[in-house]
């Protein structure tokens, strides 16, 4: 926990922002205000934030269908994201992308991705670009436990290994791909053991603890910047909500989510760690909570009131020129 006060505050603010963003969507989607398929990140915040606090704007990430957390952690504008989810003209992607395609090139966020396993090949390419640029940049892909069964993901890890690319593969194992248990669909002992088979240095870590995530990633990313080639991490984690909004979750154990919310809530864990260590006070954190709640409320109100895209926009932005 050798983080400066501002770093701790920033980390907490980011985690809390993701949490509130997702909680807001959960309520709003139930009302039918927001369309499309939405997958919430609630419960996994420590990973997105613990990872991205070690990255620069010039580093790249690719994300997944469950991408809001990664986007916020990498620095996407929350108001722009909220408007995007509401399908507004001045959403981050002009309302064309929606939840599964939030992106922001300016902060190195190469897109959420509706294709499970879609991100890692792209991150591998971004890592190739970073290597050629020679400025110590890295590219990192987030993926779920389910994504580790996709062929293109293996192909990219092999490519990153043979080309010694600064590419980092983060697997968030939240035990399920949709409704299917990870232990059933993944033949190997773990994701990590399988990735190691590619000759890629791989670590297993606790994704409930921001500090563990942060520390593990700090070391791995630093090595990657120095030209030591690709690496990977498998984080243990949980999701608080269903696979998609509307999922009744009857494939989960009777008290599984309840237990996770009580004992494995990464935001709570962060809070108790920093307060117990006397690094931040409950007041400090409550203040951030209020700021975040405010931010989300305001951004939701603005998004709700913002204008929809005009129908002609349907055919713009297909090409740079055509």
């Amino acid at each position: 926990m050798q983080l400066a006060r501002e770093e701790l505050e920033q980390a907490y603010r980011q985690m809390k922002t993701i949490r509130e963003f997702e909680d807001h969507l959960h309520r709003e989607i139930a009302k039918g205000t927001i369309g499309g398929f939405t997958h919430l990140y609630g419960g996994q915040e420590a990973i997105a934030v613990g990872v991205c606090e070690n990255l620069r704007d010039t580093d790249y990430i690719t994300s997944t269908h469950r991408g809001h957390g990664h986007c916020i952690a990498k620095g996407c504008d929350v108001n722009g994201m909220m408007k995007e989810l509401y399908g507004r003209a001045d959403g981050l992607c002009k309302g064309k992308g929606g939840s599964m395609h939030v992106a922001d090139m300016d902060v190195g966020m190469l897109g959420a991705n509706g294709i499970v396993g879609g991100g890692p090949p792209l991150a591998t390419g971004a890592a190739l670009a970073a290597k050629l640029d020679g400025k110590g940049g890295v590219a990192l892909s987030f993926g779920g436990d389910g994504s580790c069964n996709q062929g293109p993901v293996f192909e990219s890890m092999n490519i990153a290994a043979i080309l010694n690319l600064p590419s980092i593969y983060v697997y968030e194992n939240n035990r399920y791909s949709e409704h299917t248990g990870a232990s059933y669909v993944i033949a190997s002992e773990s994701i990590a053991s399988r990735v190691e088979g590619f000759g890629i240095h791989t670590v297993k870590a606790n994704g409930f603890d921001f500090f563990e995530v942060h520390e593990v990633m700090k070391e791995l990313i630093a090595k990657c910047r120095e030209g030591n080639g690709p690496c990977a991490v498998e984080f243990e984690t949980t999701r608080f909500y269903g696979h998609f909004e509307g999922d009744p979750q009857n494939y989960r154990g009777p008290d599984e989510v309840k237990n996770d919310r009580e004992n494995n809530d990464c935001v709570k864990i962060f809070r108790s760690k920093v307060t117990e260590a006397g690094l931040l006070s409950d007041e400090d954190l409550d203040k951030i909570d209020n700021e975040v709640i405010n931010l989300i409320e305001t951004s939701a109100e603005e998004a709700a009131a913002a204008p929809a895209p005009s129908p002609e926009e349907v055919t713009t932005d297909v090409y740079v020129s055509y």
Partner: protein, 336 residues
């Protein structure tokens, strides 16, 4: 006849065919749902609920939850079919077909030909398609033209609950590989469905309605859009043949051409972008085969040459609509 939804018709068919023939197996992501989960299997029966109850009745050997490995799923199905099974594999969204296109275009489609007519590959690949749910660019596509183009594949696209049953039964019993497209907005559509064994032959169009002034060809959700457009014009004395080919491959060319010879006018409606599309395919057929009967330009009503957008307003602008179709019918009928 029983009243049921498109979804229920599909589920019933899977139950019937699995009971009829022990070589029929079902496989895909979450087709059981919950395998290896804390709550145990049969949590869901497919994300759209189509494969519900199969696991309970036919067991883990024949109803198989698969990893997120579309190429693996399609390839495993193709191999099992080559070895005598009748796999019904599910690719959750047809947008993911790009991940298993090799297994379809170079393997399943070509075995019989490459092997000199000595192999059969009786697999069915069920998949959902279509826009209308704000599912955005990667979950709203209609890639049936891509597979219709591939010799060796058959392609079915039911637009009613009855056809859902009749075409799926035929698909499962067919000895060739079939790509079976289910429109995600039609799952709840109710209809009368024949009980027991019910087969709708491939390559035989459904004549949805008959008229004199114009032929409309459409599949899936677009059929009802055409009906709405035609109904809105009947007050003006304009009547249309509406033809649902049901299968784009084989295609009931005769039904289409006979109709165009009668009406002299053709409009093809499809929700894909326009280029190298099924709409263009049918238009080209008529322009070649019944040219002398044509009284007006052949028109297509399709999506634009762009991906499917997320925002409701944009998605609506992307899609054909009864209003857009009606306008084109009027222009075509009034052409001179």
């Amino acid at each position: 006849m029983a009243k049921m939804s498109y979804r229920e018709a599909l589920t019933e068919t899977l139950h019937q065919e699995m009971a009829n023939d022990e070589n029929v197996i079902v496989m895909g992501e979450d087709v059981v749902g919950g395998t290896g989960s804390a709550g145990g299997p049969e949590a869901i029966g497919g994300v759209f609920g189509v494969t519900g109850g199969l696991f309970g009745k036919f067991g883990a050997e024949r109803v198989i939850d698969m990893p997120i490995s579309e190429a693996g799923i399609a390839g495993t199905a193709a191999g099992a079919a080559l070895a005598g099974k009748r796999p019904v594999a599910e690719i959750m969204f047809s947008d993911f077909i790009g991940l298993c296109m090799d297994q379809l275009m170079n393997q399943a489609a070509k075995f019989r030909y490459m092997f000199g007519g000595k192999a059969t590959c009786p697999m069915v690949l069920r998949t959902t398609y279509g826009a209308g749910m704000q599912a955005a660019s990667q979950h709203s596509q209609s890639p049936h033209p891509m597979v219709t183009a591939i010799p060796g594949l058959k392609v079915a696209m039911p637009s009613t609950a009855a056809d859902a049953k009749g075409l799926l039964t035929t698909a499962i019993r067919d000895d060739d590989p079939v790509i079976f497209f289910e429109h995600k907005t039609l799952y709840g559509l109710q209809g009368d469905v024949p009980e027991g064994d019910y087969l709708v032959p491939f390559g035989k169009a459904r004549i949805v309605s008959e008229g004199n002034d114009c032929t409309l060809v459409a599949t899936g959700r677009m059929v009802s859009f055409c009906e709405d457009a035609a109904n809105a014009l009947s007050a003006d004395g304009i009547t249309c043949d509406i033809i649902d080919p049901r299968t784009t491959s084989p295609l009931d060319e005769d039904a289409i051409l006979d109709s165009v010879e009668k009406t002299g006018r053709l409009i093809v409606v499809d929700e894909t972008p326009p280029r190298c599309s099924f709409a263009a395919d049918v238009a080209a057929l008529a322009a070649s085969e019944v040219f002398s009967s044509l009284k007006a330009p052949i028109k297509t009503v399709t999506g634009p040459h762009s991906p499917v957008p997320f925002a409701k307003e944009l998605e609506t602008a992307f899609l054909p609509s009864p209003v857009k179709i009606k306008t084109v019918i009027e222009q075509t009928v009034n052409f001179s």
